[in-house]
Amino acid sequence: MTGPYAVEMPVINVTDQARREPSGSWRTLLAFGVTLRHLAANLLKGDSPTISYPEERRPYSERFRGTHILTVRDDGSLKCVACYMCATVCPAECIYIDAGEHPNPEIEKFPTRFDIDMLRCIYCGFCVDACPEEAIVMSREHHQTAADRSETIYSIEKLMERPGIDSNGIGYRPNTPFLEASLYSRSKQTCDIPSDAEERHPSVLYESMFRRRS
């Protein structure tokens, strides 16, 4: 049997196929049985895959990276010096910075505008590694709901809010263990990654960075 094609192609007749398959109402009951089995398991054993989401949350991977945070100095001003390292390294080209002249010549430069297009961002964390001032870090927050696309472009104000940082800690930083190891064990030339998760997410170490704006 050939269809309306230039070359010979087999045509699958769906009706034929359906006719060949065994039918009857007992099959419907069989399928319903599967549902009942799961219902019973949920009710009696309580191993339901469903959770009541905003109240209950699933544990995320240790290596999760979420919304960016712009950190602040002790006086509450932005740490960022608008060096454009993050914008340079960003593979998604989602960071936009405008620099201005800081009144304090010791600081000299600061961002008058710092936007991240969250829809373009691929959450690779390169910006965090590139930052020479620990001014941008990532949180473990993944809630980025918005009613409008323009809301997904985060400005300085929004990036300085630290969603869930106190409860969740900061996002994964693959290079930080190397940094820590080289900084704190000068004698040890090889930098091995600490194995336990506590050390890998040293939110305690960075506590001063996340001091709230006064």
Binding site: V81, A82, C83, Y84, M85, A87, T88, C90, A92, E93, C94, I95, Y96, A99, G100, E101, P105, E106, I107, E108, K109, D115, D117, L119, R120, P132, E133, S150, I153
Partner: protein, 548 residues
């Protein structure tokens, strides 16, 4: 001709040259901070030390004159070690604030550190010498004393080139620093050149500061459109998009951020005047014209050209060939003016002001000239100073009814202001004729009077040649795209000629080849010959012989 051996290769050289000059000529790289070909020799940075045979100590290449048979090596272990130590001393008190430093990315300290040093600092961080940071030493330049390596290039620039001597070295030895006197700020008309010569981030331009990082910029060789000197410069404009889809970015893709002097010994050495350097800002003074208009309706450029040409043809048939005239200006390229002349025949002029009397007149003894148009000599070479008598003559002829239709190609002066009388005359011209076309870069009010308006690309948005006051033909390469539907004047004229049945190339190189065939003064020239340094055709001598 002394012959010297440099790293094993024998080179011919001019008598009186120094080792570093020979090395620069033949392309052997010797590191240096204090030496600059247009400022002269200081010999203080000790970066250019080389090993000369028969001399027990290492010699500074910038201050050692060559002699016949000199054998020099710049690649030995001894030289490398000396340069490494020199770098360590230069970086001893350096604040390493590269993240906020405007020079980073094009800093000679960074480059030479990566190439020659690579050491770890042996100096305790907390004991580094602190100095005054980021303060104005004039209206255009900021100084950071901490980053300075005391190469004294800026000091020698103000001493030897501008002869104003604002910048001085204060203190000696460890306390030595660059500065200006309180009552004598750096305010000479060539002040921003010190930013160009500064190899580190000590001197930064107030205009360019923090606008963009150097590695986002792409340089395009061009020629200043500010006056008839035609200084060579490099336009630095954005090269790659960043910020993705964030609003406000896309407009910046074709932005010029700064201009830097391009070395041309025959024209401007390495220098630019401040007016010319910042002249690209002049294009931002008014809103740009981005679409074509005929009557009151907005049309495509092609449609407008079609209508304009048929109207011109009608008027020519009715009132004779001489009733239609074209007015270019000395801000247009040779290519554009040539095609303009070709379309309008002998009824073409370019004089809107006093260019022809001023174009050789100097404003000071360095670079600036009184005629603020870059291509007056080129327009004269094309013979556009014909019987029409410039803008004033055109207005007169139009008001007497001898000229019925006119094409005006207007580009504002980049330096200074156009004379208000020019606008007044243009308005009179437009209202006197039956049909007027204005090809303009900006949406000026006086263009509302024109029957048709075409958007024209401005300087830096078109490639082409300019002929400076001395007759040097120089090539400016298009750096950024014109806004909206704007087209370069040579393209508009090529379209007009296409309508009248003449096929001409639309790209500048082709037009220039055509021009070279027709104009004996430019014959045999092409873009390859002009190159980056420009070229003086032998026309000047020729004409003198004819006169004799």
């Amino acid at each position: 001709m002394p012959r010297i051996t440099l790293n094993g290769d024998v080179y011919e050289s001019e008598p009186g040259q120094t080792i570093i000059q020979v090395a620069d000529d033949v392309g052997v790289s010797i590191p240096r901070y204090c030496y600059h070909p247009d400022i002269g020799v200081e010999g203080s940075c000790r970066m250019c030390l080389v090993e000369a045979e028969g001399v027990p100590k290492l010699m500074p290449a910038c201050a050692t004159p060559i002699r016949d048979g000199l054998i020099v090596r710049s690649d030995t272990e001894r030289v490398k070690e000396a340069v490494r130590y020199a770098m360590e001393f230069l970086l001893l008190h350096h604040p390493i604030d590269c993240p906020v430093c405007d020079q980073s990315g094009e800093c000679w300290l960074q480059d030479y550190y990566m190439e020659y040093a690579g050491h770890l600092s042996r100096f305790p961080l907390g004991q580094k010498r602190r100095r005054r940071k980021a303060f104005d030493i004039g209206p255009t330049v900021k100084l950071d004393q901490e980053r300075c390596i005391l190469c004294t290039r800026c000091v020698r620039f103000t001493e030897n080139v501008t002869r104003t001597g604002e910048i001085q070295v204060f203190g000696r030895g460890h306390t030595g620093r660059i500065g200006v006197f309180e009552d004598r700020p750096l305010d000479n008309p060539y002040s921003i050149n010190v930013v160009d010569v500064c190899p580190v981030g000590a001197l930064t331009s107030t205009d360019f500061r923090f606008k963009v990082r150097a590695w986002f910029l792409q340089g395009t060789p061009s020629v200043c459109g500010g006056c008839s000197t035609g200084c060579n410069l490099r336009l630095d404009h954005s090269s790659r998009p960043q910020g993705g889809g964030i609003p406000g970015y896309s407009a910046r893709e074709g932005t010029i951020y700064r201009t830097v002097g391009r070395r041309n010994e025959a024209v401007n050495k390495s220098w630019l005047c401040d007016e010319g350097r910042l002249s690209f800002h002049a294009l931002e003074k008014w809103p740009r014209r981005t679409e074509a208009r005929t009557g009151s309706e907005t049309v495509t450029v092609e449609r407008a050209i079609e209508q304009i040409h048929s109207r011109f043809r009608e008027i020519r048939q009715q009132h004779g060939e001489s009733a239609v005239a074209g007015l270019g200006s000395a801000t247009s390229t040779n290519e554009a003016l040539y095609l303009l002349r070709r379309y309008f025949g002998g009824h073409t002029d370019f004089r809107i002001d006093r260019e022809t009397t001023l174009y050789r007149e100097q404003e000071d003894d360095l670079l600036r000239r009184a005629d603020k148009h870059p291509n007056t000599q080129g327009a004269l070479d094309l013979g556009l100073d014909g019987p029409l008598g410039g803008l004033a003559g055109l207005v007169d002829a139009a008001e007497r009814g001898r000229i019925r239709a006119v094409w005006v190609a207007f580009h504002p002066q980049l330096v200074g202001q156009d004379d208000p009388a020019v606008f007044e005359r243009l308005t009179r011209l437009l209202s006197a004729v039956d049909f007027s076309v204005v090809a303009t870069t900006h949406a000026f009010h006086w263009t509302d009077k024109a029957a048709a308006v075409l958007p024209m690309a401005a300087w830096s948005e078109e490639s082409g040649t300019y002929t400076n006051y001395a007759g040097r033909v120089q090539l400016a390469v298009r750096a950024v795209a014109p806004p909206g539907a704007a087209r370069p004047l040579h393209e508009l004229m090529s379209l007009m000629l296409g309508r009248s049945g003449e096929t001409t190339p639309s790209e500048p190189a082709g037009i220039f080849a055509l021009l070279g065939r027709e104009l004996p003064a430019y014959s045999g020239l092409d873009y390859d010959m002009i190159g980056s340094a420009g070229c003086v055709p032998e026309r000047v001598e020729e004409t003198q012989e004819v006169i004799r």
